[in-house]
């Protein structure tokens, strides 16, 4: 296709004819074609026609496709797409479109545009918030076609929450309180009993909830919401669904980095450690390790490092290297006592010598060289370590250096 330029020009011309036609079927098919080819030439050729479709007076399904088509072209070549202020305004107003499908695809488009140029699209915040609150406060019967297992307009909700994550918490007080109200309602809804036993129902309900929690974490200013989110995630950690545990661990990692909720996350330390021991899926165990790393601070470092070392002995080979690095960093960062640090590091080398990189054991030696008071202790435990019947190469290297020097 690409080699035949003449052919391509013909095709583009034909597609253009179709887009300019009055028949929605032709327009939609032409859009499909543009999206599927979706290369630079297409983007250059249709940079005017397709935005025009968005605010012409045509049926909704065409607009819906046009928004996504524009998004695709924007992804292939962002530089060829120029929208002036009037056009951006009109695109933003699609958020209020009464056809939910159109609004949903418009949010996807705006999300991509915002990522490139956040200031120009600031106007979308208030519209997005008001749309969100309309969805959240109305009952699910209002959106008959887009209600799926009692949750209304799932995709629109999720996308709006994603869109809002591009901006910091809104400055305007009324918008902010409205948004907080929405998030509050969403958290409340999670507490309601399930309306259906089917897994689909809980899945999509939680899809919205997780997105809401991500937004709460992103805004990072409402401590009550953060703590509530954390408690909710704590409940999920004990849920039967593996998927939920996986996502809960992942979101909690983010929560742990916020100063408001760090303490709340620490309450779940025991559960997380349990997950590490009992979880059957390596992906979930890896998230648990990540979370332990994120929630670690001076007060619980000793426990966490100890647990991680115990787990390392049975851990999967795929995640060992990462774990070794994490243990090394944590024990280095939060060490109160250098003897403890040396114990941990030598044990680490003994358990997973293969995965200990050079920087890690160089650092051990650096510590020993700089601290006179631990040198004799280091020599003692290095000697003991060498007594073992089988020693890893890295262990021999460290012990050789320490014994040789002191």
């Amino acid at each position: 296709m690409n080699s035949n330029i003449e052919m391509k020009q013909l095709i583009i011309q034909n597609i253009r004819n179709d887009i300019q036609s009055q028949n929605p079927i032709f327009i939609n098919l032409a859009l499909q074609c543009v999206v599927n080819i979706g290369d630079k030439e297409m983007a250059a050729a249709f940079t005017n026609e397709i935005p025009r479709l968005l605010y012409q007076d045509i049926i909704d399904s065409v607009k819906q496709s046009a928004a996504l088509c524009l998004l695709r072209l924007h992804r292939t070549s962002p530089e060829s797409l120029h929208l002036n202020t009037e056009r951006t305004g009109r695109i933003i107003h699609l958020l209020n479109h009464q056809h939910l499908g159109t609004a949903t695809s418009a949010v996807s488009l705006i999300d991509a545009l915002v990522k490139r140029n956040p200031d120009e699209y600031k106007g979308c915040i208030s519209l997005a918030v008001s749309r969100l609150s309309k969805i959240v406060t109305s009952s699910y019967t209002d959106f008959q076609d887009y209600t799926y297992y009692f949750v209304s307009a799932l995709w629109l909700c999720v996308k709006l929450l994603r869109l809002l994550q591009n901006y910091p918490s809104p400055d305007d007080r009324s918008i902010r309180s409205r948004l907080n109200e929405c998030l509050d309602i969403m958290l409340n809804k999670a507490q309601e009993p399930l309306k259906s036993k089917k897994v689909q129902h809980s899945n999509i309900r939680n899809a919205v909830l997780f997105e809401a929690i991500n937004l709460i974490i992103h805004m990072d200013c409402e401590s009550t919401l953060l703590v509530r989110a954390c408690n909710q995630l704590g409940q999920f950690l004990q849920n039967r669904e593996t998927n939920l545990r996986y996502l809960a661990l992942e979101s909690m990692c983010l929560l742990a980095t916020s100063e408001f909720s760090h303490e709340a996350v620490k309450k779940h330390q025991e559960t997380v450690i349990n997950a590490l021991k009992s979880e059957r899926d390596v992906g979930v165990r890896q998230r648990a390790v990540d979370l332990l790393y994120a929630m670690c601070d001076r007060s619980n470092a000793q426990d966490i490092v100890q647990e991680m070392l115990t787990y390392l002995e049975t851990a999967d080979y795929t995640i060992r290297e990462e774990m070794v690095l994490k243990i090394a960093i944590l024990s280095g960062k939060y060490a109160i006592d250098y003897k403890w640090y040396l114990d941990v590091m030598l044990k680490l080398i003994r358990i997973a010598g293969d995965f200990v990189s050079e920087e890690v054991w160089y650092h051990v030696i650096q510590v020993v060289v700089n601290r006179n008071d631990v040198q004799s202790y280091a020599a003692k435990i290095a000697f003991e370590a060498l007594q073992a019947p089988a020693c890893h190469e890295n262990m021999v290297k460290v012990a050789r250096y320490i014994l040789g020097e002191y």
Partner: protein
Amino acid sequence: MIKAILVFNNSAKPRLIKFFEHYPEEIQQQIVRETYQLVSKRDENVCNFLEGGTLIGGNDYRLIYRHYATLYFIFCVDSSESELGILDLIQVFVETLDKCFENVCELDLIFHVDKVHYILQEMCLGGMVLETNMNEIVARFDEQSKLEKQEAGITAGPTKAMTALKEMNLPQKIKDMKLSDLNLNIRF
């Protein structure tokens, strides 16, 4: 964005493959093999997300899959999509197939691969989620079947689509031709 949609059965036979980014055919086959290796050895009750293999694009991409009887449905998506949302999209896709084919089974995917692609195109447009309303999709699908019956002469077989493609300079031909046929031929 969705990067690829793969459907294969328990013995690694691909039943539906749709890539939204261009890969040479050899790589596509490798991706299918690699994905099968990753997915097939997982237990029934582990979680439905896993980090994508090396071929499909490293850390930012995730495989989200569901296992129905003999078939695996796998979506490879980047971090801009909600995991549970995609999981739900798979369910919508399967339920739609079920409505369109009445008790869908693997054989339907083999013998009506064109129709499965139509349904997929109603749901996803170039890797982005277009429509999640099941009734809407089914309605479009029914309209399509009706049209097909009327125009049986035009879309009778792929050979006709090929000849139509060769006579591309006649604009009217393109208008008459079904776009899905056009797609399949020009993409690969």
